[in-house]
Amino acid sequence: MTTPTPVRFTSRLHDERTAAFLGIALGASFSVCFATGLLSHAAQNPPAWLEWPARPAGLYRITQGLHVATGIASIPLLLAKLWTVYPKLLRRPLFGSVAGFVERVSIVPLVAGGIFLLFTGLANINQWYPWPFNFRTAHYSVAWITIGALIVHVGAKWTTTRTALSHAPHNKLPAAGNPIPSGLNRRGFLGLVAGAAGLVTVLTVGETVWPLRKLALLAPRRPDTGPQGFPVNRSAVAAGVTVTARDPNYRLVVDGAVGRRLELSLADLHSMPQHEATLPIACVEGWSASRRWRGVRVRDLLDHAGAHPNASVQVVSLQEGSSYRESELNPGQAHDRDTLLALFVNGEVLHLDHGYPLRLIGPNRPGVEQTKWVTRLVVS
């Protein structure tokens, strides 16, 4: 068996024009993924200069749904792109010049980062963590490295790509009466890749696009499946709150920078003015489900406690030992009319797995920031 060399890869599927089309598609999908990923990171870890807005209410649902959908669609695009340029791996001499060396070295973080991001992202939406590092830190850091390498690669391939796309393709139809070639041509190959990307999108995006939910065969979640008809990320058992959340002596405490410390029982909360809002739980894993929530406005509680109109709020859960035990409400979020401490969902008392007795629900927030089993508001 002979060693494969670039000379043996004579198909048009390995030419610069095919690589250029796939590179543009992949560059676009990675860019969308990166931009939406940055937004998700900012929503969860807002920099000091940014007050993450409460409106539009469904923005995070769209950006995170797009993040996961483009990530999944990128899988066939990346595999096809690597297939197309695979012969270059076997090219000799390896570098040829300083520029050639720099270009080839820059491909290592691009390919390694691309595969790493897609694999870890896919595993994360399945809540599967077979690695010893923190997913969020690694995914975020490697995304920057990959995008940086992508910028270098775009620069290196700018002229080649323009040249490849500016010439007319050579795969004209054969003359009438002659058979159409049986080998896959460029158009067929690109159509196949586009079809694969479209198909995996259709088979997964139903986890956030309600009308397509029945088609979500490959999605780890269905927006209509779970307690009270929608999914759960962390159950009460996993959070270790099955006893404390049902404690008849449960109290919600509002303290910190307040004029009057509050300690409210469930009966007290039920006796307060109740408000309704239709808001999505939009999870970082890409699924989302819109529901009708009813409960007490956070701003009413803050007013009741005599908090400053520009107060921020730290929302504390009954669960222990989780990085999502607490979340922050900036002043805009805390005083939004639809930011509630919900007691009901779709007319029913909250299920334990959905945060009974009390959960935070607010517009344009990641699901992990919609703190469940709320026991304390710390005003600052």
Partner: protein, 168 residues
């Protein structure tokens, strides 16, 4: 690398913009992780490339080659598309198929029967592939029977256009 493939000045422009971005990502990783976790990330990233380049692609090349050797040429591309589509579906549903991430206290993770869902998705792949193959085969037959067959016209029907590309 042949001279016409050498990157031009665009590389240095890209490097000037991209290198600080790479450096920022590396700093983020090192700053927010222990040394052991940083090395683990690097190990996983490099392992992914090696797995792809040394295992997945050679296997894929072999499968594609075998299909070309064993399946009649007019159906070979359809079978290749079906096999690759099946592999893609299985890869995406790998965690669900193996129960990775499942929790007994949270049945909303992987709520569907993974085997049934995967087989249904694979069936969709093969149905679509069959439809496209049938349409293109029909088009090919109509094209071959065209009355213009005897007169391809100037500049058409050259050997280059009718040549069958190699199946790599």
């Amino acid at each position: 690398m042949s001279p016409d493939e050498q990157p031009g000045t665009g590389l240095w422009v890209g490097l000037a913009i991209g290198a600080p971005v790479i450096a920022y990502g590396t700093w983020q990783l090192v700053h927010h992780s222990t040394a052991a976790r940083t090395f683990a990330v690097a190990r996983w990233a490099i392992s992914g490339v090696l797995l792809h380049d040394l295992v997945l692609v050679p296997v894929m090349l072999t499968v594609v080659w075998l299909i070309g050797r064993t399946i009649p040429s007019r159906a070979a591309n359809a079978v290749r598309a079906g096999v690759l589509g099946t592999a893609l579906v299985v890869a995406i549903d790998w965690a669900a198929l193996n129960g990775y991430g499942d929790r007994t206290d949270n049945p909303s993770i992987h709520p569907l029967n993974a085997t049934t869902a995967t087989l249904t998705a694979v069936a969709v792949v093969w149905i679509l592939v069959t439809i496209f193959w049938a349409v293109s085969w029909q088009r090919s037959r109509v094209h071959a029977r065209s009355p213009l067959a005897a007169d391809p016209g100037p500049g058409r029907g050259s050997a280059r256009n009718t040549r069958t590309p190699p199946p790599d």
